[in-house]
């Protein structure tokens, strides 16, 4: 009896939660999170001191919790000494998470339903771009304040945003178009190297690439050019894969693109002009949070524009039935080429940003492991979906960070999780869901 009713109860809880938050628009959540981060900035230190946490939790207390878990595991496996007193960090970190994040966000989001919806409705009167910019600005403010509290947060956030763009660019090919591309890390590598070549070669003095060609103070303004250059070169590289691959049908792309990945890696390893296997270092620190955020938002916007247009929908048609697509006047070869090059372009841009965040780039970064990682993000989040790519990239990135204390065990947990997702939802968590910008930024109408 109890067993039979238990799942229902959970379902009921989720249902109630769902109903509770249903009328909250994005704006409401943004306000809630804004309050959270401000509240953390004000009271985070004091609260963690009060709770006896060693320092303010940087990643919602998750890192703290997994540090304790890792300690216990090491005790069990290797018999390492374990300070039992740290066990108390688990409940205190949870308290921290609840007090700083969960309670304020729920309260503010729920309490602000009326004004937030009214504001969203008011904003809807303006062109979509204004609505979007206002809310994106708010989102940026939240992220900025959150990341301002530690360097660790800043770099994690930057890498996560880059991962979102990179994942979505692969989703165009593997999800929307339904091919299986393995060369995406290669495109990222091309983007990273080429934009580094641009910035390091032209504007800084470097052992590998020689003296600066130009020196002027506003050189950072050329960073978008460097990114575009990197993206363009990646797209050019993609052409080498695309021309033979799309001549015939079938899972031909998977192989050619894999060979291409090896070629690119080997190429950069052997180019002594580009630093060989040591790569290029000393990129200028131009990939700041606003730059990355704007680039990511712009990237998502263009990709979403593309995949929701009839021209982009042709990708789905090609995936679901290529002959039918052709019979309905779709130029399938052109469609595939465009999508592939477009995906490669954004992968290149993501690579350019990555190189300038880490401020080094070497061939070892773009191995089969990188491929496994980005494929994991795409398939975990969900195919054919912008939401999916955001969720996939953010959750795998965060999970990777949160599980860092587990060290090598992390690489058991994440693959296992992904296998489970594949078994129960073979196309990923949020697959085939259209990302309607107007709806996302608009008010929630609930009767």
């Amino acid at each position: 009896m109890d067993e039979a009713t238990a799942p229902k109860k959970i379902g009921g809880l989720f249902y109630r939660l769902d109903q509770f938050f249903k009328p909250v628009p994005l704006l409401g959540y943004l306000l809630g999170v804004l309050v959270c981060v401000l509240w953390e900035q004000m009271a985070g230190e004091q609260l963690s001191a009060f709770l006896g946490l060693p320092k303010m939790p940087v990643l919602f207390g998750l890192l703290t919790i997994f540090k304790v878990v890792a300690g216990v595991i090491n005790l069990l496996i290797k018999g390492d000494a374990f300070n039992w007193a740290t066990l108390v960090h688990v409940p205190t970190a949870l308290v921290y998470l609840t007090v700083i994040y969960l309670i304020p966000i729920s309260l503010v989001a729920r309490a602000s339903v009326k004004p937030a919806n009214a504001l969203a409705r008011y904003l809807q009167g303006f062109p979509l771009i204004i609505t979007a910019l206002v809310q994106l600005g708010l989102m940026y403010a939240v992220l900025h304040i959150w990341a301002d509290m530690s360097d660790y947060r800043l770099i994690t956030l930057k890498l996560t945003l880059i991962a979102v763009l990179f994942t979505l660019s692969l989703n165009i090919i593997n999800g929307y178009m339904g091919e299986f591309s393995c060369s995406h890390p290669g495109f990222m590598a091309i983007g990273a190297y080429m934009s580094s070549l641009f910035t390091v070669g032209l504007f800084t003095s470097d052992k590998v690439l020689g003296d600066a060609v130009f020196t002027f103070s506003a050189a950072y303004l050329s960073f978008p050019l460097a990114l575009i250059f990197g993206g363009m070169m990646a797209a050019l590289g993609a052409l080498i894969v695309a021309i033979p691959s799309f001549k015939t049908r079938g899972d031909y792309l998977a192989i050619i693109s894999l060979a291409f990945l090896f070629i690119v890696k080997s190429f950069f390893e052997n180019m002594q002009v580009l630093g060989g296997s040591r790569g290029i270092a000393g990129q200028p620190d131009w990939a700041t949070l606003p730059v990355i955020f704007i680039t990511m938002a712009f990237g998502i916007w263009t990709i979403n524009n593309f995949v929701t247009s009839t021209m982009g929908k042709a990708l789905n048609a090609v995936r679901d039935d290529e002959t039918a697509a052709e019979a309905m006047t779709v130029n399938t070869r052109k469609t595939k080429m465009v999508a592939f090059l477009f995906g490669a372009f954004w992968a290149g841009v993501a690579g350019g940003m990555l190189a300038h965040v880490l401020r080094y780039v070497n061939p070892a970064m773009f191995s089969v492991q990188k491929l496994a990682e980005v494929l994991a993000m795409v398939y975990f989040g969900g195919l054919n979906s912008v939401y999916g790519s955001i969720v996939g990239a953010v959750s795998i990135s965060l999970l990777g960070e949160a599980l860092r204390p587990l060290e090598i065990l992390k690489w058991i947990v994440i693959p296992l999780l992904l296998i489970l997702v594949m078994i129960y939802r073979p196309t990923g968590l949020i697959a085939f869901k259209e990302f309607d910008v107007r709806q996302v930024f608009g008010p929630k109408e609930v009767d």
Partner: protein, 257 residues
């Protein structure tokens, strides 16, 4: 001068002669039927005319232009729409998206429009949506415009497919067994749909059918195909009662309602 003119078209698959010396002339507004037992090469003829396969020899002229060497999407854009026996709908796409997709070749907003969502693109997409809705209404499937096409009942799927082909605004429509797998009622409804479409758009229709009743109802002119060759050609009832045709059909499981 006929709208679609096929002369001496032959095709072989690796030595096997699938179609030999096939001829067809289709005038504007004419409905011609193509009947024949399974494996006679009827669908192959469709594939050859529309450019899915390339004929080994012969010529296909459409509106005065040579089609041989053109690809399927090009012939379709020129106004030679076709349907498929197995429908070939896109399983992850909605009804409305199906119809809009067939306007692909008429989109003019270009890549930059697609990427950047220019006003021109928005205008054009809106226009295409309106047009698509009109067609959906015409085929009585506008109520399910936002549903995935795989969730529709069979008859509706057939109608969506028909609407999808017609939104290309073709001059010739090639229908590959449009009533396959239908109940008698569904079949009668489909005949009506085809008849209506024919009148409304003044289409020339070239129709493959297995069911002789459909051919009898719709076609003025019929060809009977056996082993890739036209056996008899002429008026509908003449062809159907021709001894050679009856002979060819013997042993075939003919479903005649």
């Amino acid at each position: 001068m006929p709208l679609l003119h096929v002369t001496d078209m032959s095709h072989n698959f690796g030595g096997l002669q699938a179609v030999s010396e096939y001829n067809l002339s289709l005038d504007p507004g004419q409905i011609t039927g193509l009947i024949g037992p399974n494996g006679a090469g009827k669908t192959t003829i469709f594939n050859l005319i529309t450019g899915l396969y390339r004929p080994t020899k012969g010529s296909v002229r459409f509106d005065g232009e040579e089609l041989v060497g053109k690809k399927l999407n090009e012939t379709a854009a020129m106004g030679l729409a076709r349907t498929f026996q197995e429908m070939k709908l896109w399983r992850h796409m909605t009804v409305l998206e199906h119809i809009k997709m067939a306007r692909y070749s008429k989109l003019s907003y270009g890549l930059m429009g697609a990427f950047l969502g220019t006003p021109k693109r928005r205008r054009e997409e809106r226009k295409v949506t309106e047009l698509a809705m009109e067609y959906l209404k015409m085929f009585a499937v506008d109520q399910v415009a936002d549903q995935l096409v795989v969730n529709l009942p069979y008859g509706d799927q057939r109608r969506v497919e028909m609407a999808r082909a017609l939104v290309i605004e073709p001059k010739v429509l090639l229908l590959d067994e449009p009533t396959v797998g239908m109940t008698p009622d569904e079949m009668m409804a489909m005949i009506e749909v085809i008849r209506k479409a024919h009148e409304r758009f003044n289409l020339a229709i070239f129709l493959i059918e297995h069911r002789l009743q459909v051919v009898r109802e719709l076609c003025q002119h019929v060809q009977a195909l056996v082993f890739g060759q036209v056996l008899v050609e002429g008026k509908s009832d003449e062809v159907q009662n021709h001894p050679k045709v009856i002979e060819a059909y013997i042993g075939e499981q003919e479903v005649e309602f």
